[in-house]
């Protein structure tokens, strides 16, 4: 069987400057048709800026960027027709109700009225907001607004969805609902590009992801591969104690000190625990699977971004 992999987004040395500030610094990546592709990174890393260039609403400063094989600076209209966008900041129309928001938006895509009515009913059902059909936006909860934004992004039956922090500020139930929706959309063949600060979400949803910081891509790959490459499969944690440190130094084991904990990265936790217990005087020791969060903190540091 021949598997044909088509890249729907190709970025090469893509750069965006705001005056002196380099928000996106010569990044290269390719998103393949049908996958869920994640952008992770601390606040101000350049995720939203990258999304806006893909959406053709913010012009790139340098580099190459094509979406569905079309250059973003010359084929804005054609590209935008094929995209569904859920922005980070809510921009639902407060002058309209839930139903009207979707109807008015459908008009921008030249969807005939009768078809739009059908789509809107379907979408409201999909995001479980049919009962709020005639509510004005102001009276929706944050989670309902987020769901409505997702529905609005789907009104033109897009080939690709750009979701900038789709689950920001949602309770666990609403987040799981959105995750289910994203998975079901992917199974319909829609390519999904998303950004998120929830690393568990990224690990669950993304086929591939990148971690950005200061406008640069630090890593890219499949979540489990990224974890294995940068951390190993597991983490053994012990108390931060001068004796423990001295012992680790003697054994030339690679470790990190985080507050009052020492983390040792390993692919073989049992052996590691065994040898640590044997060689060092350890009070308490725990082992757990390495997560994307460990990679994230290792690569981007623990300092808060201004």
């Amino acid at each position: 069987m021949v598997v044909c992999i088509v890249s729907v987004i190709v970025a090469e040395d893509l750069t965006k400057q705001f005056g002196e500030l380099v928000a996106v610094d010569s990044v290269s990546f390719a998103v393949e048709e049908g996958e869920v592709f994640g952008f992770l990174g601390p606040n101000g890393a350049g995720k939203t800026t990258t999304m806006k260039m893909i959406q053709c609403v913010s012009p790139k400063t340098a580099g190459k960027l094509t979406v569905f094989g079309m250059e973003v600076s010359t084929h804005q209209r054609e590209i935008k027709k094929l995209l569904g966008v859920a922005p980070q900041e809510n921009n639902l129309d407060p002058d309209f109700t839930v139903h009207e928001n979707l109807m008015v938006y459908s008009r921008y895509f030249d969807i005939p009225r009768a078809k739009a009515e059908r789509m809107v009913a379907e979408l409201l059902d999909f995001i479980q907001l049919s009962h709020k059909k005639d509510t004005v936006i102001e009276q929706l909860s944050g989670g309902m607004k987020r769901r409505l934004i997702l529905a609005r992004a789907l009104i033109n039956s897009p080939r690709m969805l750009i979701l900038d922090e789709p689950t920001i500020g949602l309770d666990p139930q609403a987040r799981h609902l959105i995750w289910d929706k994203i998975k079901s959309l992917q199974s319909q063949g829609i390519t999904i590009v998303l950004t998120t600060h929830y690393l568990e979400e990224a690990a669950q949803l993304c086929n591939r992801l990148v971690i950005m910081d200061y406008g640069k891509i630090l890593v890219q790959g499949k979540p489990d591969e990224v974890i294995r490459e940068y951390i190993g499969t597991d983490i053994v944690e012990a108390e931060n104690d001068p004796e423990v440190i001295a012992c680790l130094e003697r054994n030339t084991t690679s470790y990190d000190v985080i507050g009052n904990r020492v983390q040792v990265y390993t692919n073989n936790p049992q052996e590691m625990i065994y040898s640590l217990l044997k060689e060092c005087e350890l009070g308490q020791i725990t082992a757990r699977s390495a997560t994307l969060e460990d990679v994230f903190l290792k690569l981007t540091g623990r300092k808060l971004r201004e």
Binding site: V57, P59, P87, V104, Y108
Partner: protein, 261 residues
């Protein structure tokens, strides 16, 4: 750098923005249709029938007849100007409506043009509502005054573009009060609205004709309601069309510079 006078590329999609604003307007039409009914009545009673009793004739006509066309011109000015300053600013900045629309196949040029056309439409709606009120008092010539209906759209477009230029450069919503006080209010008073332009010193008359758009509006609406057409009006009309076209292109480019970063 985006040039300030690049000709905007437009499609019929501009009407989708217009339709959006119309839909919002129609949702609250009862509130929206009231001011154009009441405003001319207030002015007519206060100035026309009140103050006007001390004025026998002005340029050969009664004072109410003199100010009636000016009231229409002022309404044309206000409705488009305020729609495209405070109204557009709220949609752009607070509601992020423009951001939402440009994520669809519409371009920012089309969004701004749709807003301007809507501003002009508001002028048309308001002028159209005022006509029967003024006609009921027998203050305007019919059917000639009906020409005010198409004219109000063109003149409204001019004030929409003026407003949009200010919206594009204002640092915040409060600063929009400056053009209101420094431009709209003086114009309201000194454009041949409540007393003839000819009472002003000659250099100021020329200054008003060159820089205060309302003077041209008042001359045209007055000529129509009093049925006193003259060749000079063609110049006023040309002035309005020319200035709107230039400011239209400028407004779109200024907005593009502000919003496309």
């Amino acid at each position: 750098m985006i040039s300030y006078f690049a000709v905007p590329k437009l499609s019929s999609r501009v009407w989708k923005v217009w339709l959006r604003n119309r839909d919002v307007f129609m949702k609250t039409y009862k509130v929206n249709f009231l001011p154009p009914f009441l405003e001319p009545l207030l002015y007519l009673f206060a100035l026309g029938f009140g103050l006007g009793r001390y004025i026998d004739v002005i340029e050969g006509i009664s004072y109410v007849k003199f100010i009636a066309p000016a009231l229409i011109a002022i309404s044309i000015m206000n409705s488009a100007f305020f729609e495209c300053t405070f109204g557009s600013y709220v949609r752009m900045y607070y509601q992020k409506t423009f951001d939402a629309i440009i994520a669809t196949p519409l371009s920012i040029e089309e969004v701004i043009t749709g807003e301007l056309l809507w501003g002009a439409t508001r002028s048309l709606i308001y002028a159209t509502i005022m006509l029967p009120v003024l006609a009921a008092f027998g203050l305007i010539d019919l059917p000639l005054s009906l020409l005010i209906i198409p004219f109000s759209f063109i003149a409204g477009f001019l004030f929409a573009t003026i407003g949009m230029c200010f919206t594009a450069i204002t640092p915040n919503i409060n600063s929009l009060n400056y053009p209101t006080f420094l431009f709209i209010t003086p114009m309201f008073l000194f454009s041949g609205t409540f007393f003839p332009l000819s009472l002003l010193p000659e250099p100021i008359q020329y200054f008003a004709l060159a820089t205060l758009p309302l003077t041209h509006l008042v001359m045209i609406t007055r000529a129509l309601t009093l049925a006193t057409l003259s060749g000079f009006l063609v110049l006023s009309f040309a002035w309005i069309v020319l200035v709107s076209l230039v400011l239209f292109v400028l407004a779109v480019n200024l907005m593009k510079r502000r919003l496309i970063v």
